[in-house]
Symmetry: C2
């Protein structure tokens, strides 16, 4: 017998129903991220459920990053919602040690290479100009501040992800970026972290502008490789200093 031919039935799902109603409300009112949604008390009254149930539902959304609650102020939409949303909560074991950073970098290498390749395939002239702009800003910041242009660097990469035409790239990387933010800032005490990766930003851009997916992929791989080297150098230095 096919296991799937007799799925478990669904009897009650109050808070799920609340969330579905809320999705409908957001769409009906065309709420944008940042806007405030009705208070818990009003929702409870309108939906004819207890405030407690509303709170459980909102807690779910908060956990998924869809909504932000501010005591005394209200509950605010943080991201666009749609009826056919798919949730993919990932919980990664491991803290901010060398291994975890390395593993994160491997994921980033995978996504970065693919995003650069897709970007080279799909970028319009306007997209290419936009990326060029971000690159200029980044290089400017790099020269004036001599490195540590992490904010502008991030914007350049974000632009590449966006132009790739696949929002999943940006979402996944953004989630990781937020998690490891502190460490991208001061990773293991290596002062010139990311210095070596600088020239590859331009080469990636050039391959994208030349509509060369394979080339863009290769340059992206090189960029991440330099970051990995930096990381290894930092780890080695740490190990050395801890032995003294």
């Amino acid at each position: 017998m096919d296991q799937n031919s007799l799925p478990p039935i669904q009897t009650t799902a109050r808070d799920d129903a609340v969330l579905k109603a809320l999705v409908g409300f957001v769409r009906a009112e065309a709420l944008q991220p940042g806007e405030r949604l009705p208070t818990e008390r009003i929702l409870a009254e309108r939906l004819k459920v207890s405030r407690n149930t509303v709170r459980e539902a909102l807690t779910r959304w908060e956990g998924l990053g869809l909504v932000e609650r501010r005591q005394g102020s209200g509950t605010y939409l943080k991201a666009a919602v749609s009826p056919d949303m798919l949730h993919m909560p990932l919980t990664l074991a491991g803290g901010n040690d060398f291994t975890s950073l390395m593993q994160t970098l491997e994921i980033r290498r995978a996504l970065e290479a693919e995003a650069a390749a897709l970007c080279a395939e799909r970028a319009s002239q306007a997209d290419i100009a936009e990326i060029a702009r971000k690159l200029d800003v980044m290089e400017q910041a790099f020269r004036t501040r001599d490195g540590m242009s992490s904010e502008e660097d991030w914007e350049f990469h974000q632009a590449v992800y966006r132009v790739s035409g696949n929002p999943l790239f940006e979402q996944i990387i953004a989630a990781m970026h937020e998690l490891f933010h502190r460490f991208w800032e001061h990773p293991l005490g290596v002062r010139d972290f990311g210095h070596a990766s600088f020239p590859y930003h331009r080469t990636i851009y050039e391959r994208i502008a030349a509509r060369d997916p394979q080339g863009a992929r290769a340059e992206a791989l090189k960029l991440i490789a330099t970051v990995e080297d930096d990381l290894k150098r930092g780890a080695a230095k740490l190990k050395l200093s801890s032995q003294t």
Copy 2:
């Protein structure tokens, strides 16, 4: 001044505290996935908080897939927890249409290529033998059932992810696989879906066994390309049939 040197204080964070206490409990009791954790009432009493607060905390964990609640039975651990867990909830807009599947495939292509390359770098002799075993099972299933060896196919890929040495690959892909499970089974009505990708499983294995990261990466890219072609064919067929 460094923004991070003065983090906002935590006046109230009851449910977070509950979760932290729960992490401690799980570790202290060495609870394994599948085991039951204390009832909400007991937790509330022990932690000196209201049962409602406990429920909100558990709702968070449930949303993250860490825990499963069964009414009348109890709350069960669904995944390993650790103090330095990192949560990365992703919500993907768009349903199970062609575009979404295509975007998912692009992510998979990125990760698959990288995982195969890492696998080729790091696999031990035992690992290679394990992958060979999965490959044999898959090819066997393919021959006897003439295609549609999705379960065994999945196990082969999982083995590659595992041997890559980076658990993040397996986690991310597993989450996506679960989401799109129904569609990997019967994607857009294409009966021989995945047929064309069959030979590349062996070529990937061969490149891994030969310790050839670049080759493994290239073969993995080819494999996903065939799946993408299948998907496009299916979409075209659908479009055609909807026009009649």
